[in-house]
């Protein structure tokens, strides 16, 4: 067994929350630059230029890329041969709290969905754990804003539904998101599993580089088709028209039941943030 101290995990979570909020992902930045080359309209170009300039300024001055510094989801992959010394849960919430205080990040979490009192710590965070082989611990943080989160959706399709129904549903979600979700978007799509698992897969899909395609050929094709179909909506940067409505479409999938085809779409903005570290 390899021992990892919970205090190390806490430090890693803090470091990752700060990095995610100040430094736009390189894959996203490259996609924005390539979108700028393709756009011809003045408005779309100006918006993309501002987004790129904003990313540079945020990194240099250590100011949050977006004021919505999100509700933090933490994804852990814990190796079978890892023994965590100390309180893991406290380390995760504590790491988030430290980052949001130290980094002057916005505290956007309320204690109760109806009573709505700000916890002033940006905690609790959402924790997902996978057990994997090996003696490593991978920590991924994803601080996600709610302008886009509010537009996410799930649909339980018929098991015999053709791929075109999946496409139709996703187009409907993107149209409904319109300008509100800060396009150009990144779409994380979860297919298969159960209602809850499809939603989780859609979140995990957002963590993958948008330059990496699904390993299965038919899902890879669907990712490409969806990218094309969504961009043909011409919603464009900030919904003001243009060629770039999405920067990337990532699908994660899982076996499912004979009676169903769950499809979940996590809508994410042009400031899609995540950072990871292996301990």
């Amino acid at each position: 067994m390899r021992e990892i101290n919970a205090s190390k995990i806490r430090e890693a979570v803090t470091e990752l929350c700060l990095r995610a909020n100040f430094e736009l992902r390189q894959d996203v930045l490259r996609a924005l630059r390539s979108a700028l080359k393709k756009e011809t309209g003045g408005r779309a170009r100006n918006i993309l230029k501002s987004i790129i300039e904003n990313a540079q300024l945020a990194k240099k001055k250590r100011i949050a890329i977006c004021q919505d510094t999100g509700l933090v989801s933490i994804f852990l992959e814990i190796g079978n041969d890892v023994a965590i010394k100390g309180d893991l849960e406290e380390a995760l919430h504590g790491g988030v709290e430290d980052a949001y205080k130290k980094g002057h990040l916005r505290k956007s979490v309320v204690d109760d969905s109806l009573m709505r009192k700000n916890t002033n710590t940006n905690t609790p965070c959402i924790i997902h754990v996978d057990i994997v082989k090996g003696d490593r611990l991978k920590v991924t943080v994803s601080p996600k804003g709610f302008g886009s989160e509010n537009k996410s959706a799930i649909k339980m399709l018929r098991p015999t539904a053709p791929a075109s129904e999946v496409t139709d549903f996703i187009l409907e979600v993107v149209k409904n998101a319109g300008a509100d979700a800060c396009p150009p978007l990144i779409l994380g799509i979860g297919m298969g599993g159960t209602f809850d698992h499809a939603a989780l897969l859609s979140k995990k899909a957002l963590l993958r580089s948008i330059e990496t395609r699904n390993t299965k050929k038919h899902f890879r094709m669907l990712e490409k088709d969806l990218l094309k179909a969504v961009n043909s909506l011409k919603i464009g940067p900030m919904g003001l028209g243009g060629k770039t409505t999405v920067l990337g479409v990532n699908i994660e999938e899982f076996p499912t039941h004979i009676a169903g085809l769950p499809v979940a779409v996590s809508v994410s903005c042009h400031a899609t943030r995540s950072a990871e570290k292996v301990l």
Binding site: N54, I63, R106, G147, G236
Partner: protein
Amino acid sequence: MINITTPLTEDVRKSLKAGDEVLLTGTILTARDAAHKRLCDTLNKGKALPLNLKDAVIYYCGPTPARPGRPIGSCGPTTSSRMDLFTPALISLGLGGMIGKGDRSDEVTKAIKKHRCVYFLATGGIGALLSTKVRSSKVILYNDLGPEAIHKLEVKDFPLLVGIDSKGNNIYGKAGRKKE
């Protein structure tokens, strides 16, 4: 590019057209979901608002805290449509303009036309860049709401687009419209 200053008088509002690029200088007030609810709860109880909205500009924004030595942190717009239920009541009190992102409801558009108000768009997700246009920031109301408190911001050349003008014309083409 059109330069405008606050207070946003009716003459200025009427001169702006959907799609115009504007640089705004002056005082704006931040208010988002919780502050809107509280303002409208006050009105619903038959009480007067604790601030004057005549010709004022409300910015749908909850900034990140300022680093030492800076007036404000990241401060981009939030989604305007969540404020739609509350907005007509505030417009009827003489509110001059609103800044946010995304489209508005038909009810808001109707109120904008009736009272010759203006809805501006700021680019979402560029809060670090927009923070360089803010000279000062001070919480003036609802301090207990934290990031959702009403902040008074002094801005210089804050870049905006006219989203819905005083005649109800809307910048979003067919693609940007949420409702089919």
